[in-house]
């Protein structure tokens, strides 16, 4: 036991002395969160649009007014003819043109139907989709208002849409759980694998293996400091998310931290596993980045929804621990899910963790090859 505590003390000292790495370790979560929180967002603000109003009556003016009033749009151009539309898109700034047909109000009153054409610049499909649906919403709202005022019963079916758990569709709410996964993966797995392979590279590992230290002493001793660091990072992200980005936290903190520790253990086990295979720090880093970080970012549902991936990629995503962790954390943070709703994901994550712990303990040999 004494030899083990000595080993852990040494690990902490080494991490603490390496100021540059330490800065990265604690700075990275903050920088990433600020980046994702402020710069990368799916919601649209100040999209520049043009209006081609061929009717110029009360209704079209009101709708234009409403578009202008919303934060989403900024009306930049008023067109006179259809021919101008394409030239405007070519310039590149205008994302959307709304076209009201001639005699808009008249048709609306007389026939109950009038056409609005929404033309978008789909070079950025996501953005095009978003502005289009925002526009449609604003127009639909107005039409409903109109109907209520004039007591006209509208025929057909009107969908009542409600966005639950994230009504404002704030992307930061979605990113925070993903970021936690990415950062934990990065710090726990990458740092552990580098730190173990460094011992191998410098030759200290031989001395440790010749000593009476048991292999699990070495592994646990290596892993423990990063467990602590990772927990500190999780707290940092949570505090930032809550107070800077007002991300809601609906569920139980205890449940959240238990699940977070489970995921950290997964990442640590992966880190140890990588280090048993890699013989130098560079290999360990490349494998961690390409083999762990990329799938965590791309295949976990962090940015791209798993359900819209091709089927083979969906299968692959099943073995990516971050996918399950994301479901769990989004559930706890945004929906306030209790354990009963996430036990399946937890079980899968536990399984993956145990698998890699056992595998790396087996592979981490006392003897050299």
């Amino acid at each position: 036991m004494k030899s083990f505590s000595g080993f852990v003390i040494k690990e902490f000292k080494q991490i603490y002395r390496d100021k540059r790495t330490l800065t990265v370790l604690f700075g990275m979560p903050i920088i990433m969160l600020v980046l994702f929180g402020f710069a990368i967002r799916n919601e649209v603000t100040n999209a520049q649009i043009g209006i081609l109003d061929l009717s110029k009556d009360e209704v079209t003016r009101t709708i234009t007014q409403k578009l202008k009033a919303s934060e989403t749009f900024e009306v930049r151009a008023y067109l006179q003819t259809y021919e101008e539309v394409e030239g405007l898109f070519r310039q590149g700034n205008i994302k959307e043109v709304v076209v009201f047909e001639a005699d808009f109000q008249e048709k609306l009153v007389r026939e109950g139907v009038a056409d609005v054409q929404v033309i978008t610049d789909a070079t950025d499909p996501n953005l095009a989709n978003l502005v289009q649906s925002y526009t449609a919403n604003i127009i639909r709202d107005y039409v409903r208002e109109l109907n209520e005022n004039e007591n006209i019963q509208q025929a057909g079916i009107t969908p009542q849409v409600r966005m639950m758990y994230n009504p404002e569709l704030r992307s930061v709410n979605l990113f925070v759980p993903g970021l936690i996964a990415v950062i934990l993966m990065l710090i726990s797995a990458l740092m552990t694998s580098i730190s173990i392979t460094r011992e191998k590279e410098l030759g200290n590992m031989e001395i440790l293996l010749v000593s009476p230290l048991k292999p699990y002493h070495i592994i646990v001793g290596k892993v423990l400091p990063y467990l602590v660091l990772s927990i500190v990072n999780v707290i940092t992200i949570l505090v930032l998310a809550k107070f800077v980005f007002q991300v809601p936290f609906q569920g139980s903190y205890i449940l959240f931290f238990t699940e977070a520790i489970l995921f950290i253990l997964t990442a640590l086990a992966l880190g140890v596993f990588i280090s048993t295979a890699a013989n130098n720090q560079q290999t360990a880093m490349m494998v961690s980045l390409a083999g762990l970080l990329l799938p965590t970012v791309l295949l976990s549902g962090f940015i791209f929804p798993v359900s819209s991936m091709p089927i083979p990629l969906q299968w692959i995503s099943h073995v990516i621990p971050a996918k399950w962790f994301l479901i769990i954390v989004r559930g706890i943070m945004l929906k306030g899910s209790e354990f009963i709703f996430i036990w399946k994901e937890t079980l899968i994550l536990t399984g993956i963790t145990l698998f890699f712990i056992i595998l790396s303990l087996k592979k981490f040999k006392v003897r050299l090859q």
Binding site: S5, K13, S211
Partner: protein, 247 residues
């Protein structure tokens, strides 16, 4: 000189088709300074790794301090000290911390460790730099410190794998004085080296060529057998027959 503390019989290690160590047999007696010579790639490090329990032999038998290398590696570990070819101290820890760390992993009690620490710092001459990072020390001091740490837990045998590589002649001399001192305390020293003058300091030497031990005996006996007056000549005569290249 007493009972053998290391005994090997036809010890062999293969890596695939390559036989790194080829049927070596020798005994090392208690308190002896046993020199292990050979060109680069002759198989010295592989042999040491088998004796320290780091590698499993392919065939043959070996026991270290009365324990079998196949089955009792854990018991062997408690009885040996090891200074590897690669530098084995932590650069980013201070001298004191390195001593405390290695003392810790060998389970030396606090009280004993404290007095040992003073002893080591005194004998290596680290008083002024005891709280400096090892990174800042000259190589010779690092090597002396690494040696002192390798024998911190009073092992019965200490394995030194090219301990004086890259060290200046004066420091090498001091290093050998230290080896004698340790040997006088009854600790068996198993040392590999490149330097032929160092071979003369050993009680007995063995010369490895292509994984085999081609010569074994006291420096004087070997010189007589090969009819020369320096170990260097013996070595060169033997090394010429080697088929393996350098490295």
């Amino acid at each position: 000189m007493g009972d053998p503390v290391i005994q090997t019989e036809n010890l062999t290690r293969k890596f695939g088709d390559f036989t790194a160590v080829d049927n070596i047999s020798f005994d090392v007696k208690k308190g002896e300074i046993f020199g292990f010579l050979g060109a680069n790639g002759a198989g010295k490090t592989t042999a040491i790794r088998m004796l320290t329990g780091l590698l499993t032999p392919t065939s043959g038998t070996a026991s270290v301090s009365g324990h079998d290398v196949y089955t009792q590696a854990e018991s062997i570990k408690k009885n040996i000290g090891y200074m590897s070819q690669k530098f084995s101290l932590y650069d980013d820890l201070t001298c004191e911390e390195n001593i405390r760390f290695y003392g810790g992993i060998y389970g030396i009690p606090d009280k004993e460790l404290k007095s040992k620490m003073e002893e080591v710092i005194e004998s290596v001459g680290l008083k002024d730099v005891r709280n400096k990072l090892v990174r800042s020390l000259p190589l010779g001091w690092k090597q002396k410190l690494a040696f002192s740490i390798a024998i911190l837990h009073n092992p019965r045998i200490v394995f030194l794998d090219e301990p004086t590589g890259g060290v200046d002649p004066v420091t090498r001399r001091q290093f050998w004085e230290k080896i004698y001192e340790v040997s006088n305390q009854g600790i068996t020293v198993f040392v590999t080296t490149h330097y032929m003058d160092e071979a003369e300091y050993c009680d007995r030497i063995s010369i490895m060529v292509d994984g085999r031990i081609d010569a074994l005996g006291t420096p004087d006996a070997l010189k007589q057998n090969y009819d020369t007056d320096s170990i260097e000549d013996v070595f060169i005569q033997l090394a010429r027959s080697a088929e393996r290249g350098d490295g």
